[in-house]
Amino acid sequence: GRQKMLEAFEIVNKNFGELFSKIFNGGHGHLVLTEADDPLEAGLDIMASPPGKKLLHRSLLSGGEQALTAITLIFAVFLTNPAPVCVLDEVDAPLDDANIERFCDLLDEIKERTETRFLIVTHNAISMARMERLYGVTMSEQGVSQLVSVDLENTEEMRAFA
């Protein structure tokens, strides 16, 4: 039990460090087990310093930096035990355009390394453009949802769904 937990921690930590530097274009991140000698009781803390910045308390990171760090951890865990499907609901909301491109690069990489199928809800035009296909949800009748196919080649149509 404890051994398994420590082994899992080591792998997640390694993945986290790699993905962090990739998605932050530099900098350094790692995980620590906290608050107990028994790893089965410990908490999981994140140490993150974006490129050029000092390691400060995690709460001082910006909204976008915190989101990116959490996404990195979720994917680090994910890579240790890939799931058949990954569903992300608007995780790109606090990210700026450059970080959204890097986030999509990360998705492409994970897609290559695993057999996972992704369902990604987004309002962002950049994320939309990086998808392989789009489904639009509409309510042409008020309060009633319907699913339609959206043509990725048709920028006008896509924008209407942003």
């Binding site: 058949p84 609901d89 809800v121 008020q142 949802s145």
Partner: protein, 168 residues
Amino acid sequence: MEFKRIRLSGFKSFVDPTELIIEPGLTGIVGPNGCGKSNLLEAMRWVMGETSAKRLRGEMMDDVIFSGTERRPSRNLAEVTLLLDNSDRKAPAQFNDSDELEVSRRIERDSGSAYRINGVEVRARDVQMLFADAATGANSPSLVSQGQVSAFVNAKPQERRLILEEAA
């Protein structure tokens, strides 16, 4: 295990039967605020055995049943069906002789949920186990609901450690 498609009927704002084909790679789901995108994702968590109404933004599980609009009356029944590919034959013995698995959950107002795998009635636990063995499930870190990222950021270390347990 591979996810192939999901069908909904009467689930939240998806009152009419709807089908989403789940294809390989990256599929984007887009649309205006309030049109039903999160509802669609919640249907997947729900059929995988989500037990908490709160995690589906409701106060009780009946809240997932279509409750009507100004024009349409409410329903008393909601059903979601997930079609899975089982050609790798990694399912539990009792279901492992089929190429495909159809997992469905149905809820009737005031009488609770019923689960089926390939037409056979099973317990919620059987459905949860099926998905847990395939490294997924309603509480898997691979299903990130809206606003969950910021909750994760602000979580206490103990809470965040639960995610590590999903990897172990």
